[in-house]
Symmetry: C2
Subunit: 458 residues, 2 copies
């Protein structure tokens, strides 16, 4: 079966030939002697125009076909006299699936994104969301391609985990215990739970990915992660996909090389392989998107220490809402300023140790860790990474300082005893990348069926 | 940084040249004047032999390097006089990460798979598991490549779901309710749960994938699914990855075409891109594996109705443990017989409706549904698929018959009202494929960190 995409790729191949297509009616204009159907089969962003006329014995039936209906159409691809280069002159149009009158996408005018969230199962039929979720697919493949072509081993991190469970207020608990029975008996007995202990959904596959990095040298995860954070913002979802590469014999500088190279590759791949979709976003969602993305692929990312960023921020002639401070995190307004200051993406590195995770490599100054965040113009933090602490004693002491339970992470510590070497990695939230790539600025609109506090439909 | 894989791909390119590598010591034999290190950097199945001699000032230090240690080695790639074609004559070997004496992989002899499960985080450093998890990565990529090259849109199905939750004894509940508080208060209030209702981990993304098929024509999922089944068999895990393609304008016959084509592509891709790994399995795990896989790629899969399979089974001169019956499922012994009978893969189609799922297309006979299972020699059922019921009334009636709650699946039913057309899909358990590809017959050994009843480590 031919796809509309095939025709757009090389329409001359099909010109004046009899072809057959299957898809849906996006719109339908009827006149007395002619009819025009905007036809879309989901394989391509653009519609194909179908023309039929009253020389067909089924003209009246075809005229009655409704928007949203599934059809099989046969006809000849011809040069068009209208605005498009070509169109399909139908010899037959057969109804494959009717569309009822209460179809929510019937109405004229562009439906709002808020309205479409209420009928999320129909969203991918609209041009905007069709483009968003195709870009999601193309970008996912670009990520796999990047890493596979470079010899990385794709690692499926476990989703249900018992590590890290204690005191983790932002994790979803996973259980087969009968809650009603607990209410009745007044007792919680985890030895009777499915895994014989308390378990939760993972918030990151990084620690486990390190076990693969120290066996394969280069590994990456690409899978779902979960956060039970009660945030209702445009950038928080409870279920989202993460990419977490991890590389042995790799220090922070080399880590940044990979982050930069990977991001440029993925952006370029999407520009090349979802051209029409990006054009649509550039036109209707974020003016200048193509320029922004193209500029990124050609720019050299700046690398600067956290303390030097704070210095720049302090010296800036700006009235900050949050005063920048050495030893502290930076706010959204600071991220924005610094990418504008350098007019491009900025790696901020060597962060104060107390605001970063326990596993990050402690620098010799005793104050900072070899961590890095990538800030990009217009999107803020897009990735975060670090060199990992490879020294058993330093890591162990840090875990003690933070009052962590080391027994459930003995395997993680042991990696430092058994041929552990310097290694680094980073994480990228896939939806954050999609927001950057599409300009669609609400995470609810780049996930097919999003989960946020109070929302778990489909 | 050069990979060992680069050298094996084209060693002549590096012959008599100075190169530098980083990786781990797999074994180390010392003599008075020479030493040999089996070196592996995780990028390639085979080791590279490193030779050093006492002309090096650091000879004594190098001699002391222990198995498992991480090293940087510099030297010249030379033709070997030993069994291998080439080896690295070291000019320097530097220790990057020492390996303690209690390293569990120190001991001589091949450790058992059961022992290695206890130290799963070190498994990928052994030749067998290194090969298994690399094949896992290569096969995953092959699947993406197959579908992406053919215009399928990759769909991330939601993991946490409220659909299908009622009476689903085999689902994991997901909650942020405090179980201890429930025990104290004696009350379960789902309005206070994170999503405001009872939620669980998905067992399949198919129903949601259908919404994408009816927008993009061709879609596929590749993600984790969960089953809280209390089974301790070689083929059951509580967390596993599934591939679920879904195609509009596709009937059962076309569905089988895709299943067959996809499987052959993936097997061939793995044979071509994980040659050394498959050779290792053929040698040490399943004799004849390469023949089995090659034969599959060249065979034409048989297609036969369930009732005709039962007829063959009934006529067979075999004493069955389970008597084959029309209208019933078939047992493992039957699967085995039928693939041997046809000496190749067999699609069994048109199954009795009462043993199959509600969404499968009801055939005109009123007794069967347009479902198909693929049985392959030596592995049994590898995939299952069906044409989906596209008729609103038939689907609705079937759900009523089965006493299902239609309110949470109204969107699924609505797909039949709004341009729904004939469509089909199938599911393949990724681990089942890996068992078939590697000959490693326990699901615990093809998942990096497996989850089974009572087991949730790492």
């Amino acid at each position: 079966m031919l796809d509309v995409k095939d025709i757009y790729k090389d329409y001359k191949k099909y010109l004046d030939k009899e072809i057959s297509l299957q898809g849906w009616i996006r719109s339908h204009r009827k006149q007395k002697e002619f009819g025009f159907i905007d036809f879309n089969d989901g394989t391509y962003q653009k519609n194909l125009q179908i023309v039929y006329d009253n020389t067909l014995s089924t003209f009246d039936e075809i005229s009655k076909l409704k928007l949203g209906s599934a059809i099989t159409v046969k006809g000849t691809l011809v040069k068009s006299e209208g605005t498009q280069e070509f169109e399909l002159k139908a010899s037959s149009v057969i109804l494959e699936g009717d569309c009822m009158d209460d179809y929510p996408l019937q109405s004229k005018g562009r439906p709002t994104r808020e309205f479409l969230r209420e009928i999320a199962y129909l969203r991918p039929r609209t041009p905007l969301f069709n483009a968003v979720f195709r870009v999601r697919s193309v970008a996912a493949y670009a990520i796999h391609k990047y890493f596979q072509d470079r010899g990385y081993v794709y690692f499926h991190a476990p989703l249900i985990t018992a590590s890290d469970c204690e005191g983790a207020g932002e994790m979803f608990q996973v259980t087969t215990l009968d809650l009603n029975r607990i209410a009745k008996s007044g007792e919680v007995d985890y030895t009777k739970d499915f895994f014989g202990k308390q378990t939760a959904l993972t918030v990151s596959g990084q620690l486990q990915a390190e076990t693969f990095a120290l066996a394969y040298k280069k590994t990456y995860t690409f899978g779902p992660t979960f956060r039970a954070e009660n945030s209702n913002t445009k950038t928080h979802a409870s279920e989202f996909w993460m990419i977490e590469p991890e590389i042995a014999f790799c220090d922070l500088e080399a880590d940044m090389d990979i982050m930069e190279d990977m991001l440029k590759f993925v952006v370029k791949y999407v520009l090349d392989n979802a051209k029409e979709e990006i054009e649509l976003f550039d036109k209707f969602v974020e003016k200048g998107l193509i320029d922004k993305l193209t500029k990124l692929t050609n720019s050299k990312f700046v690398r600067i220490d956290h303390k030097d960023v704070i210095k720049i921020l302090k010296e800036a002639d700006v009235k900050w809402e949050f005063e920048p401070e050495y030893g502290e995190d930076i706010a959204k307004e600071h991220e924005k300023y610094i990418t504008e200051y350098f007019n491009g993406p900025v790696f901020i590195k060597n962060w104060p140790k107390d605001i970063k995770a326990f596993y990050m490599k402690q620098n010799d100054d005793g104050k900072t860790v070899a961590a890095v965040d990538l800030e990009v113009p217009g999107a803020g933090e897009l990735m975060g990474g670090s060199q990992r602490e490879e020294d058993y004693n330093k890591l162990s002491n840090r875990m003690d300082e933070l009052g962590m339970d080391k027994s459930s992470l003995d395997w993680y510590l042991n990696l430092r005893k058994y041929g552990g070497c310097i290694h680094s990695g980073f994480g990228m939230g896939f939806e954050r990348l999609l927001i950057y790539l599409t300009g669609v600025d609400n995470i609810r609109d780049v996930i097919p069926y999003y989960r946020t506090p109070g929302n778990c439909d489909y």
